[in-house]
Symmetry: C2
DNA sequence: TCGCAATTGTAGCGAGCGCTACAGAATCGC
DNA sequence: GCGATTCTGTAGCGCTCGCTACAATTGCGA
Protein backbone atom coordinates (compact mmCIF):
# COMPACT_ATOMS: atom_id res chain seq x y z
CA UNK A 1 0.00 0.00 0.00
CA UNK A 2 2.96 2.29 -0.31
CA UNK A 3 6.32 2.86 -1.90
CA UNK A 4 8.56 -0.15 -2.60
CA UNK A 5 12.21 -0.59 -1.70
CA UNK A 6 14.36 0.79 -4.49
CA UNK A 7 17.42 -1.26 -3.59
CA UNK A 8 18.10 -4.99 -3.50
CA UNK A 9 17.82 -5.91 0.16
CA UNK A 10 19.64 -9.23 -0.13
CA UNK A 11 22.46 -7.79 -2.15
CA UNK A 12 22.85 -4.95 0.33
CA UNK A 13 23.05 -7.47 3.16
CA UNK A 14 25.67 -9.46 1.30
CA UNK A 15 27.79 -6.39 0.78
CA UNK A 16 27.45 -5.35 4.41
CA UNK A 17 28.44 -8.84 5.53
CA UNK A 18 31.52 -8.70 3.36
CA UNK A 19 32.50 -5.34 4.80
CA UNK A 20 31.96 -6.34 8.43
CA UNK A 21 33.90 -9.52 7.77
CA UNK A 22 36.77 -7.55 6.30
CA UNK A 23 37.01 -4.67 8.76
CA UNK A 24 35.29 -5.91 11.92
CA UNK A 25 32.35 -4.40 13.76
CA UNK A 26 34.02 -1.41 15.36
CA UNK A 27 36.20 -0.79 12.31
CA UNK A 28 33.23 -0.43 9.99
CA UNK A 29 31.41 2.91 10.06
CA UNK A 30 27.89 3.68 8.94
CA UNK A 31 29.21 5.80 6.05
CA UNK A 32 31.40 2.92 4.86
CA UNK A 33 28.37 0.65 4.89
CA UNK A 34 26.21 3.15 3.04
CA UNK A 35 28.78 3.54 0.29
CA UNK A 36 29.26 -0.21 -0.07
CA UNK A 37 25.53 -0.95 0.01
CA UNK A 38 24.81 1.98 -2.29
CA UNK A 39 21.90 3.25 -0.24
CA UNK A 40 21.22 6.50 1.60
CA UNK A 41 21.12 7.31 5.28
CA UNK A 42 17.33 7.46 5.29
CA UNK A 43 16.87 4.05 3.72
CA UNK A 44 19.41 2.55 6.07
CA UNK A 45 17.74 3.59 9.29
CA UNK A 46 14.30 2.91 7.90
CA UNK A 47 14.83 -0.69 6.86
CA UNK A 48 17.91 -1.82 8.81
CA UNK A 49 17.14 -0.10 12.12
CA UNK A 50 20.71 0.30 13.42
CA UNK A 51 24.31 -0.76 12.95
CA UNK A 52 23.97 -3.39 15.66
CA UNK A 53 20.80 -4.82 14.12
CA UNK A 54 22.43 -5.00 10.70
CA UNK A 55 25.47 -6.71 12.19
CA UNK A 56 23.33 -9.42 13.73
CA UNK A 57 21.66 -9.99 10.36
CA UNK A 58 25.09 -10.23 8.77
CA UNK A 59 26.31 -12.72 11.36
CA UNK A 60 23.29 -14.88 10.59
CA UNK A 61 24.05 -14.65 6.88
CA UNK A 62 27.67 -15.62 7.48
CA UNK A 63 26.46 -18.58 9.51
CA UNK A 64 24.07 -19.74 6.79
CA UNK A 65 26.72 -19.64 4.10
CA UNK A 66 30.34 -19.99 5.17
CA UNK A 67 29.92 -21.83 8.46
CA UNK A 68 27.09 -24.02 7.21
CA UNK A 69 29.16 -25.20 4.27
CA UNK A 70 32.05 -26.13 6.53
CA UNK A 71 29.70 -28.06 8.80
CA UNK A 72 28.09 -29.84 5.87
CA UNK A 73 31.48 -30.95 4.64
CA UNK A 74 32.33 -32.33 8.05
CA UNK A 75 29.00 -34.08 8.47
CA UNK A 76 28.90 -35.76 5.08
CA UNK A 77 32.33 -37.39 5.22
CA UNK A 78 32.44 -41.19 5.61
CA UNK A 79 33.82 -41.11 9.14
CA UNK A 80 34.79 -38.68 11.91
CA UNK A 81 38.47 -38.59 10.97
CA UNK A 82 37.70 -37.70 7.37
CA UNK A 83 35.04 -35.21 8.44
CA UNK A 84 37.32 -33.36 10.79
CA UNK A 85 40.06 -33.29 8.17
CA UNK A 86 37.56 -31.92 5.65
CA UNK A 87 36.74 -29.19 8.15
CA UNK A 88 40.38 -28.14 8.41
CA UNK A 89 40.92 -28.37 4.66
CA UNK A 90 37.99 -26.05 4.04
CA UNK A 91 39.40 -23.66 6.63
CA UNK A 92 42.85 -23.70 5.01
CA UNK A 93 41.35 -23.32 1.54
CA UNK A 94 39.62 -20.23 2.74
CA UNK A 95 42.81 -18.87 4.29
CA UNK A 96 44.54 -19.46 0.97
CA UNK A 97 41.92 -17.61 -1.00
CA UNK A 98 43.37 -14.25 -1.96
CA UNK A 99 39.91 -12.88 -2.74
CA UNK A 100 38.53 -13.67 0.72
CA UNK A 101 37.48 -10.62 2.77
CA UNK A 102 40.02 -11.33 5.51
CA UNK A 103 42.15 -13.99 7.13
CA UNK A 104 39.64 -14.39 9.86
CA UNK A 105 36.45 -16.12 10.87
CA UNK A 106 33.75 -13.52 11.37
CA UNK A 107 32.37 -15.31 14.41
CA UNK A 108 35.79 -15.72 15.97
CA UNK A 109 36.56 -12.06 15.37
CA UNK A 110 33.37 -11.06 17.13
CA UNK A 111 34.53 -12.87 20.25
CA UNK A 112 37.15 -10.21 20.67
CA UNK A 113 36.66 -6.51 19.93
CA UNK A 114 34.96 -4.29 22.41
CA UNK A 115 31.90 -6.06 21.13
CA UNK A 116 32.11 -8.07 24.33
CA UNK A 117 30.70 -5.12 26.21
CA UNK A 118 27.42 -5.54 24.34
CA UNK A 119 25.58 -8.47 25.95
CA UNK A 120 23.63 -9.44 22.84
CA UNK A 121 26.67 -9.51 20.57
CA UNK A 122 28.67 -11.31 23.23
CA UNK A 123 26.01 -13.96 23.55
CA UNK A 124 25.82 -14.32 19.79
CA UNK A 125 29.58 -14.87 19.56
CA UNK A 126 29.52 -17.37 22.42
CA UNK A 127 26.80 -19.30 20.63
CA UNK A 128 29.06 -19.59 17.58
CA UNK A 129 31.75 -21.32 19.62
CA UNK A 130 29.28 -23.59 21.39
CA UNK A 131 27.84 -24.60 18.02
CA UNK A 132 31.25 -25.48 16.66
CA UNK A 133 32.05 -27.61 19.68
CA UNK A 134 28.66 -29.32 19.45
CA UNK A 135 29.27 -30.11 15.78
CA UNK A 136 32.62 -31.67 16.58
CA UNK A 137 31.09 -33.69 19.41
CA UNK A 138 28.18 -34.97 17.37
CA UNK A 139 30.43 -35.83 14.44
CA UNK A 140 32.62 -37.86 16.76
CA UNK A 141 29.66 -39.46 18.51
CA UNK A 142 27.94 -40.78 15.42
CA UNK A 143 31.07 -42.36 14.03
CA UNK A 144 30.43 -46.10 13.69
CA UNK A 145 34.10 -46.91 14.21
CA UNK A 146 34.49 -44.61 17.20
CA UNK A 147 38.03 -43.84 16.16
CA UNK A 148 39.28 -42.29 19.35
CA UNK A 149 37.99 -44.67 21.95
CA UNK A 150 40.77 -43.48 24.25
CA UNK A 151 39.40 -39.99 24.66
CA UNK A 152 35.86 -38.97 25.49
CA UNK A 153 34.08 -37.25 22.61
CA UNK A 154 33.23 -34.16 24.64
CA UNK A 155 36.80 -33.52 25.71
CA UNK A 156 38.04 -34.15 22.19
CA UNK A 157 35.52 -31.69 20.78
CA UNK A 158 36.59 -29.07 23.33
CA UNK A 159 40.26 -29.51 22.45
CA UNK A 160 39.54 -29.22 18.73
CA UNK A 161 37.39 -26.14 19.21
CA UNK A 162 40.07 -24.47 21.29
CA UNK A 163 42.71 -25.39 18.75
CA UNK A 164 40.64 -23.99 15.88
CA UNK A 165 40.25 -20.68 17.71
CA UNK A 166 44.00 -20.59 18.19
CA UNK A 167 44.54 -21.29 14.50
CA UNK A 168 42.44 -18.29 13.52
CA UNK A 169 44.55 -16.06 15.70
CA UNK A 170 47.85 -17.51 14.52
CA UNK A 171 46.78 -17.18 10.88
CA UNK A 172 46.06 -13.53 11.44
CA UNK A 173 49.68 -12.93 12.32
CA UNK A 174 51.48 -15.24 9.94
CA UNK A 175 49.83 -17.86 7.75
CA UNK A 176 51.79 -20.75 6.27
CA UNK A 177 49.52 -23.50 5.01
CA UNK A 178 52.19 -26.20 4.92
CA UNK A 179 53.14 -25.61 8.51
CA UNK A 180 49.51 -25.47 9.64
CA UNK A 181 48.60 -28.67 7.79
CA UNK A 182 51.58 -30.46 9.23
CA UNK A 183 51.02 -29.45 12.85
CA UNK A 184 47.29 -30.14 12.55
CA UNK A 185 47.92 -33.64 11.20
CA UNK A 186 50.32 -34.32 14.06
CA UNK A 187 47.73 -33.14 16.55
CA UNK A 188 44.93 -35.22 15.03
CA UNK A 189 47.21 -38.24 14.93
CA UNK A 190 48.14 -37.81 18.59
CA UNK A 191 44.50 -37.51 19.53
CA UNK A 192 43.74 -40.71 17.65
CA UNK A 193 41.32 -39.06 15.25
CA UNK B 1 68.49 22.33 34.22
CA UNK B 2 64.80 22.88 34.38
CA UNK B 3 61.56 21.81 35.98
CA UNK B 4 61.21 18.24 37.18
CA UNK B 5 58.37 15.80 36.50
CA UNK B 6 55.71 16.29 39.13
CA UNK B 7 54.25 12.81 38.71
CA UNK B 8 55.63 9.32 39.27
CA UNK B 9 56.50 8.11 35.78
CA UNK B 10 56.69 4.43 36.70
CA UNK B 11 53.45 4.47 38.61
CA UNK B 12 51.74 6.25 35.73
CA UNK B 13 53.01 3.58 33.34
CA UNK B 14 51.75 0.84 35.63
CA UNK B 15 48.31 2.39 35.75
CA UNK B 16 48.20 2.86 32.00
CA UNK B 17 49.24 -0.76 31.50
CA UNK B 18 46.44 -1.91 33.76
CA UNK B 19 43.91 0.16 31.86
CA UNK B 20 45.05 -0.98 28.40
CA UNK B 21 45.05 -4.55 29.66
CA UNK B 22 41.52 -4.17 30.93
CA UNK B 23 39.90 -2.29 28.07
CA UNK B 24 42.13 -2.90 25.06
CA UNK B 25 43.92 -0.40 22.87
CA UNK B 26 40.98 0.96 20.91
CA UNK B 27 38.69 0.84 23.92
CA UNK B 28 40.95 3.05 25.99
CA UNK B 29 40.73 6.78 25.30
CA UNK B 30 43.27 9.45 26.12
CA UNK B 31 40.90 10.99 28.68
CA UNK B 32 40.52 7.63 30.44
CA UNK B 33 44.28 7.31 30.62
CA UNK B 34 44.74 10.84 31.94
CA UNK B 35 42.23 10.26 34.71
CA UNK B 36 43.78 6.93 35.67
CA UNK B 37 47.34 8.25 35.55
CA UNK B 38 46.33 11.45 37.31
CA UNK B 39 48.20 13.71 34.93
CA UNK B 40 47.16 16.47 32.55
CA UNK B 41 47.00 16.62 28.79
CA UNK B 42 50.15 18.73 28.57
CA UNK B 43 52.24 16.36 30.65
CA UNK B 44 50.96 13.41 28.70
CA UNK B 45 51.97 14.62 25.27
CA UNK B 46 55.19 16.06 26.57
CA UNK B 47 56.59 12.96 28.22
CA UNK B 48 54.66 10.08 26.63
CA UNK B 49 54.56 11.40 23.05
CA UNK B 50 51.37 9.65 21.89
CA UNK B 51 48.83 6.96 22.71
CA UNK B 52 50.60 4.52 20.42
CA UNK B 53 53.97 5.21 22.00
CA UNK B 54 52.54 4.76 25.49
CA UNK B 55 50.91 1.51 24.45
CA UNK B 56 54.22 0.11 23.24
CA UNK B 57 55.81 1.05 26.58
CA UNK B 58 52.94 -0.70 28.35
CA UNK B 59 53.30 -3.83 26.25
CA UNK B 60 56.97 -3.95 27.21
CA UNK B 61 56.06 -3.56 30.86
CA UNK B 62 53.51 -6.36 30.59
CA UNK B 63 56.17 -8.54 28.99
CA UNK B 64 58.69 -7.84 31.72
CA UNK B 65 56.28 -8.72 34.50
CA UNK B 66 53.41 -11.06 33.68
CA UNK B 67 54.86 -12.91 30.70
CA UNK B 68 58.37 -13.07 32.14
CA UNK B 69 57.09 -14.70 35.30
CA UNK B 70 55.20 -17.35 33.36
CA UNK B 71 58.29 -18.08 31.30
CA UNK B 72 60.49 -18.27 34.39
CA UNK B 73 58.12 -20.79 35.93
CA UNK B 74 58.26 -22.93 32.83
CA UNK B 75 62.04 -22.73 32.53
CA UNK B 76 62.84 -23.57 36.13
CA UNK B 77 60.78 -26.75 36.38
CA UNK B 78 62.68 -30.05 36.60
CA UNK B 79 61.60 -31.24 33.17
CA UNK B 80 59.63 -30.14 30.12
CA UNK B 81 56.42 -31.84 31.18
CA UNK B 82 56.43 -30.12 34.56
CA UNK B 83 57.46 -26.81 32.99
CA UNK B 84 54.65 -26.81 30.49
CA UNK B 85 52.17 -27.77 33.19
CA UNK B 86 53.48 -24.94 35.36
CA UNK B 87 52.86 -22.61 32.44
CA UNK B 88 49.24 -23.65 32.17
CA UNK B 89 48.74 -23.55 35.93
CA UNK B 90 50.00 -19.97 36.06
CA UNK B 91 47.66 -19.10 33.20
CA UNK B 92 44.69 -20.69 34.95
CA UNK B 93 45.62 -19.04 38.25
CA UNK B 94 45.53 -15.72 36.50
CA UNK B 95 42.17 -16.50 34.92
CA UNK B 96 40.87 -17.38 38.37
CA UNK B 97 42.06 -14.14 39.90
CA UNK B 98 39.03 -11.93 40.42
CA UNK B 99 41.24 -8.86 40.82
CA UNK B 100 42.96 -9.35 37.46
CA UNK B 101 42.35 -6.57 34.94
CA UNK B 102 40.68 -8.90 32.45
CA UNK B 103 40.32 -12.51 31.36
CA UNK B 104 42.78 -11.95 28.62
CA UNK B 105 46.44 -11.90 27.74
CA UNK B 106 47.39 -8.38 26.71
CA UNK B 107 49.64 -9.62 23.92
CA UNK B 108 47.01 -12.02 22.61
CA UNK B 109 44.41 -9.26 22.67
CA UNK B 110 46.69 -7.03 20.63
CA UNK B 111 46.78 -9.64 17.87
CA UNK B 112 43.17 -8.84 17.17
CA UNK B 113 41.62 -5.37 17.31
CA UNK B 114 41.99 -3.00 14.44
CA UNK B 115 45.50 -2.69 15.82
CA UNK B 116 46.50 -4.99 12.99
CA UNK B 117 46.25 -2.07 10.61
CA UNK B 118 49.17 -0.41 12.37
CA UNK B 119 52.34 -2.17 11.16
CA UNK B 120 54.38 -1.48 14.29
CA UNK B 121 51.71 -2.78 16.67
CA UNK B 122 51.07 -5.73 14.42
CA UNK B 123 54.75 -6.64 14.38
CA UNK B 124 54.92 -6.26 18.14
CA UNK B 125 52.00 -8.63 18.63
CA UNK B 126 53.47 -11.14 16.20
CA UNK B 127 56.73 -11.06 18.15
CA UNK B 128 54.83 -12.01 21.31
CA UNK B 129 53.52 -15.18 19.69
CA UNK B 130 56.88 -16.06 18.18
CA UNK B 131 58.49 -15.64 21.59
CA UNK B 132 55.98 -17.94 23.23
CA UNK B 133 56.54 -20.61 20.60
CA UNK B 134 60.31 -20.26 20.95
CA UNK B 135 60.04 -20.67 24.72
CA UNK B 136 58.03 -23.84 24.32
CA UNK B 137 60.50 -25.18 21.78
CA UNK B 138 63.58 -24.43 23.84
CA UNK B 139 61.98 -25.88 26.96
CA UNK B 140 61.27 -29.08 25.10
CA UNK B 141 64.69 -29.15 23.48
CA UNK B 142 66.72 -28.89 26.64
CA UNK B 143 64.80 -31.61 28.40
CA UNK B 144 67.28 -34.37 29.31
CA UNK B 145 64.59 -37.02 29.09
CA UNK B 146 63.20 -35.75 25.79
CA UNK B 147 59.76 -36.81 26.88
CA UNK B 148 58.02 -36.65 23.53
CA UNK B 149 60.44 -38.39 21.27
CA UNK B 150 57.55 -39.18 18.96
CA UNK B 151 56.93 -35.59 17.94
CA UNK B 152 59.44 -33.03 16.78
CA UNK B 153 59.94 -30.21 19.29
CA UNK B 154 59.14 -27.49 16.78
CA UNK B 155 55.79 -28.97 15.80
CA UNK B 156 54.93 -29.61 19.42
CA UNK B 157 55.73 -26.01 20.31
CA UNK B 158 53.58 -24.77 17.45
CA UNK B 159 50.64 -26.92 18.55
CA UNK B 160 50.94 -25.71 22.13
CA UNK B 161 51.18 -22.07 21.10
CA UNK B 162 48.12 -22.40 18.90
CA UNK B 163 46.24 -24.15 21.67
CA UNK B 164 47.15 -21.45 24.20
CA UNK B 165 45.85 -18.75 21.86
CA UNK B 166 42.64 -20.70 21.54
CA UNK B 167 42.36 -20.99 25.31
CA UNK B 168 42.55 -17.23 25.71
CA UNK B 169 39.71 -16.79 23.31
CA UNK B 170 37.58 -19.54 24.84
CA UNK B 171 38.17 -18.16 28.33
CA UNK B 172 36.91 -14.79 27.19
CA UNK B 173 33.53 -16.30 26.39
CA UNK B 174 33.12 -18.82 29.17
CA UNK B 175 35.80 -19.83 31.66
CA UNK B 176 35.58 -23.05 33.66
CA UNK B 177 38.87 -24.00 35.25
CA UNK B 178 37.98 -27.63 35.86
CA UNK B 179 37.03 -28.16 32.25
CA UNK B 180 40.10 -26.35 30.95
CA UNK B 181 42.46 -28.27 33.23
CA UNK B 182 40.92 -31.55 32.21
CA UNK B 183 41.03 -30.96 28.48
CA UNK B 184 44.55 -29.57 28.71
CA UNK B 185 45.77 -32.62 30.60
CA UNK B 186 44.20 -34.89 27.99
CA UNK B 187 45.90 -32.93 25.24
CA UNK B 188 49.31 -33.00 26.94
CA UNK B 189 48.92 -36.70 27.60
CA UNK B 190 48.07 -37.39 23.98
CA UNK B 191 51.07 -35.38 22.84
CA UNK B 192 53.29 -37.38 25.16
CA UNK B 193 54.38 -34.35 27.17
C1' DT C 1 68.44 36.89 41.54
C1' DC C 2 67.95 36.28 37.03
C1' DG C 3 67.34 33.87 32.67
C1' DC C 4 66.74 29.72 30.34
C1' DA C 5 64.63 25.45 29.63
C1' DA C 6 61.55 21.94 30.83
C1' DT C 7 56.95 20.86 32.54
C1' DT C 8 52.10 21.90 33.09
C1' DG C 9 47.06 23.40 32.34
C1' DT C 10 43.67 25.20 29.15
C1' DA C 11 41.28 25.70 25.27
C1' DG C 12 40.09 24.12 21.06
C1' DC C 13 40.90 21.98 16.31
C1' DG C 14 39.20 18.90 12.68
C1' DA C 15 37.38 14.73 11.97
C1' DG C 16 34.58 10.86 12.71
C1' DC C 17 31.00 8.45 15.24
C1' DG C 18 25.86 6.60 15.36
C1' DC C 19 21.71 8.45 14.87
C1' DT C 20 17.44 11.51 14.13
C1' DA C 21 14.12 15.10 12.34
C1' DC C 22 11.87 16.24 8.57
C1' DA C 23 10.34 17.29 4.12
C1' DG C 24 9.83 15.39 -0.48
C1' DA C 25 9.01 11.45 -3.62
C1' DA C 26 6.88 7.19 -4.89
C1' DT C 27 3.20 3.72 -4.78
C1' DC C 28 -0.77 1.56 -3.23
C1' DG C 29 -6.25 1.20 -2.47
C1' DC C 30 -10.07 3.79 -3.48
C1' DG D 1 -7.46 11.92 -9.17
C1' DC D 2 -7.00 11.57 -3.93
C1' DG D 3 -5.40 10.22 0.56
C1' DA D 4 -2.77 7.30 3.19
C1' DT D 5 1.40 5.13 3.84
C1' DT D 6 5.98 3.98 3.01
C1' DC D 7 10.50 4.97 1.29
C1' DT D 8 14.42 8.30 0.40
C1' DG D 9 17.72 12.34 0.67
C1' DT D 10 19.53 16.16 3.36
C1' DA D 11 21.05 18.47 7.06
C1' DG D 12 22.72 18.44 11.33
C1' DC D 13 22.72 16.95 16.34
C1' DG D 14 25.67 15.86 20.35
C1' DC D 15 29.46 13.38 21.39
C1' DT D 16 34.16 11.50 21.45
C1' DC D 17 38.44 10.84 19.30
C1' DG D 18 43.72 11.86 19.24
C1' DC D 19 46.30 15.69 19.17
C1' DT D 20 48.29 20.61 19.19
C1' DA D 21 49.18 25.63 20.18
C1' DC D 22 50.34 28.44 23.63
C1' DA D 23 50.89 30.81 27.69
C1' DA D 24 51.75 30.19 32.56
C1' DT D 25 54.51 27.91 36.00
C1' DT D 26 58.48 25.78 38.04
C1' DG D 27 63.32 24.70 39.02
C1' DC D 28 67.93 24.63 37.70
C1' DG D 29 72.79 26.84 36.79
C1' DA D 30 75.22 31.02 36.67
Amino acid sequence: MARKLTFDYDQALDRATELFWRKGYAGTGIRDLLKEMEIGEGSFYHSLKSKRHLFLLCLARYDETVVAKRMRLMASAPDAGAGIRAFFTHMFDYLDDAKAPSKLCMIAATVEEEVLVDPELRQRAAKGLKDLEAQFASRLARDPQSPSARIEDGALAAILTTYVQGLWRMALVDYDRGRFEQQTEILLGSLGV
